[in-house]
């Protein structure tokens, strides 16, 4: 198993439930999420900055 720190930018979603799904889908591209947070919001671009640590086997 390996741990990785990753960053990603995701689009703002219509609902918090959709946002959660979008975050899960984005992180699954990198590995199994261990810890994550949305760290900032760009209201103009309607994007969110995501930071996370994931694991891969």
């Amino acid at each position: 198993m390996t741990t990785h720190f990753i960053t990603a930018e995701i689009n703002m979603q219509e609902s918090v439930a959709d946002l959660h799904q979008e975050i899960s889908a984005t992180l699954s591209n990198y590995g199994q999420p261990l810890r994550w947070a949305v760290t900032s919001v760009d209201a103009q671009q309607q994007t969110l900055a995501l930071e996370a640590v994931v694991t891969t086997d």
């Binding site: 720190f5 810890r35 947070a37 949305v38």
Partner: protein, 359 residues
């Protein structure tokens, strides 16, 4: 005449994420007074190790539940419940990378907590390789971390559970000594971000995610030279040779996780579940975490504290999260006491407008 109590327990979750430079709670257990105060006005306070760990000092009360961050995220999602316990057998896992004398200091700290506080502990274990912790500071200013040998961590935890009968795991990893680093100097003076925090969270999250039992972490570091300008908020971590006592005290009575799938009928009765949480309290700028977003789907009230500034920049209005935004934790304690008493906080003002008809 016997009065039957049918009051619903008032449950609050207090979140101050680690490694985000929270001006209150981002140092050496400096949020313990807040936890103790909120616990005095609720039936049950659920919070995480960063809030309650003050190295040699700790905060504990019979109605405070010490829940590791990954477990708290799962609890908030509704997937896991919490089952309070009378006590856990705590297994101590030491990083092989800790030098012999510092290892002995940790074993002595464990013996002290056993003899003076009566905490139950299994025999200890060493990891089979050094864990090799890596620290990262992200562009947001938050502290994150990785470890080179996570499998060694998990093998050690498994050994404690399987061979030692551990019901909770205390991990101690060797962290790099950087006594002259600007970030450490700032931290010692009550400023900046705890550089170690992100890696600590990753370590305990790995154990909880894999084994579904309580876990918490203490870093192993060489003692620092005397600093005459040491901030009160950071002082608790410079009283001794280890950060271990608060971790052992927290794990002593940390609730077990209910993770059966499908749930048994007794799990719903015995356990505490997210839909029983009345309020979640978080710094106003740190609303982008998993637990907050999960609670926002539910009837749990979100209360944010603007005075508690962090490196994060995710405010409730940006995500359309309905929130009671208060300035200080003192106001939070008042708002919670009022809500629990059935009093609407908006009535606690000198002038109250008359009730109006629905348009």
């Amino acid at each position: 005449m016997v009065s039957l109590g049918v009051n619903r327990p008032y449950v609050v979750v207090l979140l101050i994420p680690t490694g985000i430079g929270a001006s209150i709670g981002g140092y050496a257990g400096d949020a313990i007074p807040i936890a103790r105060s909120i616990a005095a006005v609720v039936d049950c306070l659920i919070t995480h190790p960063n809030v309650l760990n003050g190295a040699q000092l700790y905060g504990s009360a019979s109605n405070i539940l010490y829940v590791e961050g990954y477990g708290l995220d799962q609890f908030a999602s509704g997937k896991w419940g919490l089952r309070p316990v009378h006590q856990n057998r705590v297994g101590l896992l030491l990083d092989q990378g800790i030098e012999p004398e510092l290892r002995i200091r940790h074993l002595q700290a464990a013996d002290a907590v056993r003899a003076t506080l009566g905490v139950s502990m299994t025999d200890y274990a060493l990891t089979d390789t050094p864990l090799d912790v890596g620290l990262h500071l992200s562009s947001s200013g938050a502290a994150w971390g990785t470890i080179t040998n996570p499998d060694s961590l998990l093998r050690g935890a498994e050994k404690l559970i399987r061979d030692g009968g551990a019901e909770a795991i205390a991990v101690v990893s060797r962290f790099p000594d950087e006594p002259n680093s600007p970030s450490l100097q700032a931290y010692r003076h009550g400023q900046g971000v705890d550089h170690l925090a992100g890696a600590e969270a990753v370590i305990s999250h790995l154990v909880v995610r894999t084994f579904h039992i309580p876990c918490a972490h203490a870093p192993a570091l060489q003692p620092l030279p005397l600093d005459l300008d040491l901030a009160p908020r950071s002082a608790a971590e410079e009283l001794g040779y280890t950060f271990l006592p608060s971790v052992l005290v927290g794990l002593n009575r940390a609730p077990q996780f209910i993770t059966h799938s499908p749930l048994r009928p007794v799990d719903r009765i015995d356990g505490l579940w997210a839909n029983q949480v009345d309020a979640v309290v978080v710094p106003d700028s740190a609303c982008g975490g998993s637990a907050v977003l999960n609670f926002s789907h539910s009837a749990t009230r979100l209360i944010t504290v603007t005075e508690n500034q962090t490196q994060m920049a995710v405010f409730p209005n940006q995500l359309q999260l309905p929130a009671l935004r208060l300035n200080s934790y003192l106001e939070v304690i008042g708002a919670i006491a009022a809500h629990r008493a059935g009093v609407h906080v908006e009535t606690l003002v000198s002038h109250l407008s008359s009730i109006k008809p629905i348009p």
